[in-house]
């Protein structure tokens, strides 16, 4: 994309941060990554994708946290502990997993400009910090309003064929790179790290 900022051209080490707004552990990762990356001298590329098609390829039509209740109930408790430790607000959403399609498209649109990261953090904060359903127009419009963005213009651009295609391609690329969950981190040499727990290791690897 001509004119689009490409961190790989600056010479600084980069790390791709792959996330889905439906993913619970992506919430703390999204909230932690910016200051940690800065301290590590690593430039982060935020790369929204959809877990749905990847889960489907594994034979799941739902979140594994719903399919396997013991794992699911553990995850919620674990996430609550993690957020408490980080002093991040946490409210378990009543809807899970949430439909992250529109938010993911909007994130791609926002990341073309300079408010992408702020938008992503605001969506995560709405979903897991306030327990809202970001699959509903109301919640997303609320986030855009907080950021003083024109909801209609953003939505129109997010629904364009160009953005739709890019999200599809990002998801295909995620699958090609061996991703099977979120958050995931991929260094420039292809090294893959999975999970909020691996954020520090991924940054250390990328910054070597």
């Amino acid at each position: 994309m001509p004119g689009r900022y490409n961190p790989r051209m600056t010479g600084a080490p980069t790390l791709d941060f792959w996330f889905d707004f439906a993913s619970t552990y992506s919430y703390p990762a999204a909230m932690r990554i910016a200051p940690l990356a800065e301290a590590a001298g690593v430039t982060v590329r935020w790369r929204p994708f959809l877990l749905g098609p990847i889960f489907k390829a594994q034979g799941w039509d739902n979140s594994p946290f719903n399919i396997y209740p013991a794992k699911g109930s553990y995850m919620w408790r674990d996430l609550e502990r993690i957020c408490a430790e980080l002093q991040l607000p946490f409210v378990r959403p009543t809807v899970f997993p949430q439909n992250s399609l529109t938010a993911a498209r909007m994130a791609l649109a926002a990341l073309e400009e300079d408010w992408g990261e702020i938008f992503c953090r605001a969506i995560y904060a709405a979903e897991f910090g306030e327990g809202l359903d970001i699959g509903t127009p109301g919640a997303v419009v609320g986030v855009l309003a907080t950021l003083r963005r024109n909801a209609e213009a953003v939505l129109q651009h997010a629904q364009s064929d160009a953005i739709k295609t890019r999200l599809r391609r990002q998801t295909e690329e995620a699958q090609r790179r061996g991703l099977f969950g979120a958050p995931s981190f991929v260094a420039a040499d292809g090294e893959l790290f999975w999970g909020n727990d691996r954020l520090e290791a991924a940054l250390a690897w990328a910054g070597r």
Copy 2:
């Protein structure tokens, strides 16, 4: 069991360490837990169990790392990185998952005496440090020989009804406590932590 050492009676905080010798991430956990627990002032109860029946209840007849190849190939790379970081030897076994039944029974027998932890670490070292198949008599007998134990006597006790029943009961208890994978750590108040990554958090919780 009369006369059996019960750490809960000493007044020191305790943490139950649940592991299966078939579990890959239980290897670094088993190698790390003793010094970390000592530093935290926590007494650890080593509790072998079998993941098989728990996986079966989730609909799996194999390790999820075999059922989901992307996750499996990531796990082996991740484990390799973790062992390198800890300077633990690592050789990927050709057989996975391994039949851990006999080793688990032997561990229960050994943990009744004073060589249980050493036996557990030696089994993990043989399996993931040397790549041996601990489901075969040769490998287990080799471990017992290194520890200067009478293999025949140990095997005979391990195959007793008392030990068989205890292993079955431990596995049932694991399921009752909400365990769905290994390693897992359970504090005296029932708080559950899953995964080698959570060892430090589990010890901190238990020692509060």
